[in-house]
């Protein structure tokens, strides 16, 4: 029995290392304008070694490097960010059903970013505004849940309340936005990677990179924190300090992603659960694997969003359509061993 488990585990790790890269390369071929695989290859080669071989710049370079690559990098980083912060929050709150959305972080961040985009003309970067309100949201959830913050239902309910509040505030922003801003705001809210531009990614990708890396470094610590405050304290851990670090990192990475992508839900729930089913509960494996599979999942979801229909399907709608049935199944099964 443990033999098959080990094989499964090794397979999961090998796949994790290869999958995001393979999907990224394949995804470069996909889009409204079809570029033959060979042309993708030569264009990348031409960019990496300028002046070598064909001096003529590839006619596809603009599409590949100005439109597709930033979008795919955003999918890669945002997927890792959402999955890793979801997994970390689950450990921290001792609760396998929490993630960015159920803690109000998603809509807190969306509200902050919308404020910056609509009213402040980006004078405060949307990522920064998103971060501030993501923190406000998670603090509000903690205050409302109070002492029973580790109780599954209490924290989900508190999250629903805070999410509802921020959705109402978002509606207020929409109400006051001018028609032009309103349209782009609504599309952004549905969740989309279409607006990926290098200028935004210059802020978002480094934040996510640092946040995810530090959370991966904290992976074993999350095992200890997931035992609950009293136990972790008795084991000699400075619980409040480490909790703050994890919450800030999770809010930061989610906010950095949400400010550009809008609300993309359920990745933070689905991915860590699938990983736990495959390799068990140990966060030393769950956190890094969540990063790899979250990135892969969002890349694939975005490929589908771009190519399944003649128009672009908002990716947030896609992940919700898949994620909500998944959540229902989890709720029904909660208590089963992989939780």
């Amino acid at each position: 029995m443990s033999g098959t488990r080990n094989k499964k585990r090794t397979a999961a790790f090998i796949l994790a290392a290869v999958l995001p890269v393979v999907i990224l390369i394949l995804s470069l071929n996909i889009g409204a304008y079809r570029i033959p695989p060979k042309a993708v290859f030569t264009t990348i080669l031409g960019a990496v070694f300028p002046g070598g071989g064909n001096a003529q710049p590839s006619p596809y370079a603009d599409i590949l490097f100005r439109i597709r690559l930033p979008r795919l990098l955003l999918a890669l980083f945002a997927g890792a960010a959402l999955a890793v912060s979801g997994a970390s929050l689950q450990a921290l709150f001792k609760n396998p059903l929490v993630f960015e959305f159920s803690l109000g972080i998603s809509y807190g961040a969306a509200f902050g970013a919308a404020l910056s985009l609509v009213f402040l003309g980006r004078k405060i970067p949307p990522q920064a505004a998103a971060f501030v309100f993501a923190i406000v949201a998670v603090l509000a959830v903690l205050v409302i849940a109070g002492k029973s913050a580790s109780h599954v239902v209490t924290i989900l309910l508190s999250g629903v309340i805070v999410s509802a509040l921020f959705q109402a505030l978002l509606s207020l922003v929409e109400f006051f936005a001018n028609p032009y801003a309103l349209q782009s705001l609504i599309f952004w809210l549905m969740g989309s990677l279409a607006q990926a531009e290098w200028s935004d990614l210059g802020i978002t990708l480094p934040i996510i990179g640092v946040g995810v890396t530090v959370l991966i470094l904290l992976r074993w610590r999350l095992n200890v924190l997931s035992l609950g405050d009293d136990e972790a304290r008795a084991l000699g851990v400075n619980v409040s300090r480490e909790k703050v670090v994890v919450i800030v990192l999770a809010a930061l990475t989610t906010a950095a992603a949400t400010a550009v992508t809008g609300v993309i839900n359920w990745v933070g729930l689905i991915v860590p659960h699938l990983v736990r089913m495959a390799v068990g509960a140990d966060n030393r494996k769950v956190i890094p694997l969540s990063a790899a599979y979250g990135a892969s999942l969002l890349l694939v979801a975005d490929d589908i969003a771009r190519s399944a229909a003649s128009f672009e399907i908002p990716i947030g709608i896609l992940t919700s359509v898949v994620g909500i049935p998944f959540f229902i199944v989890l709720l029904k099964k909660s208590g089963k061993i992989w939780l």
């Binding site: 904290l218 609950g228 000699g236 400075n238 140990d282």
Partner: protein
């Protein structure tokens, strides 16, 4: 090595723990007994720093417990909680490894040395073959042993066990208490344990502390302090003490 308590006062909104003075020495098992709500667990948690005892009230090996933080505190006191409700199904080895938390830097993972400590602790409690099992598969008795193993992996001088035998069948109850004796006997630990079963407490402890209403009513070796009037005043019911084959049995 020992624990010294001086004028410890700890209050909840409707409960106050008040211990004027108490000493626990090494290589001894001390059981804390008393009715529900007497403050046994509160006392134990204050000794474990799970609850914040005020400054200059609890001293471990000469150090004020309130001044000890993280790693240095974990080296002195280890706390074995009542069976916790885990949210994640860790393997036994991963669970016992969390006992090493104080020795592992925040951004690091357990080293080989930490794995060895965890495996050694599992061997001591007799669960060497259980490393790869998961916590949810274990019986209640096995979980108690794993909890003790985790605290052993932490390698503290003083072990505090909160009702380690509650809800266990007689065989597992005896198994745990035999282990508790070995902690004091073989490893020279200072062992403090809250218990409900008076017969077992009498049989397995070197010292007993009787509590009622947040105060210590009597303490000392069972042979010296145990009598019917003490039991009556602590539990508010009549109990008799029978001497059978050299053992003292308490009958209700």
């Amino acid at each position: 090595m020992k624990v010294r308590v001086e004028n410890l006062v700890f209050s909840y909104p409707n409960f106050t723990l008040e211990v004027a003075g108490q000493t626990f020495v090494d290589a001894r098992v001390t059981s804390i007994v008393g009715p529900n709500g007497a403050g046994k667990s509160t006392f134990l948690k204050c000794l474990a720093a799970v609850l914040p005892a005020p400054r200059r009230s609890v001293f471990v090996n000469g150090n004020d417990l309130a001044d000890l933080k993280g790693r240095s505190r974990a080296r002195h006191v280890g706390y074995v909680p009542q069976e916790p409700a885990l949210s994640f199904n860790y393997t036994v080895l991963d669970f016992v490894l969390t006992g090493r938390a104080a020795s592992i830097p925040v951004f690091s993972s357990p080293s080989r040395h930490d794995f060895e400590a965890a495996e050694e602790a599992l061997r001591f409690v007799g669960l060497a073959d259980f490393s790869a099992r998961t916590y949810f598969e274990l019986s209640s008795g096995e979980r108690r042993l794993v909890l003790i193993a985790r605290t052993l992996a932490q390698r503290p001088d003083i072990l505090l066990l909160d009702e380690p035998t509650t809800f266990l069948d007689p065989r597992h109850e005896v198994e745990i208490l035999e282990l508790v004796r070995r902690l004091a006997g073989e490893m020279n630990k200072t062992v403090i344990v809250t218990l409900h079963d008076l017969d077992m407490a009498v049989k397995y402890s070197d010292e007993m502390v009787f509590m009622k209403g947040g105060r210590v009513v009597a303490s000392g070796p069972p042979a010296d302090i145990l009598n019917e009037s003490l039991l009556r005043s602590v539990y508010d019911i009549e109990m008799g003490i029978l001497n059978v084959a050299g053992r003292r049995l308490i009958v209700r």
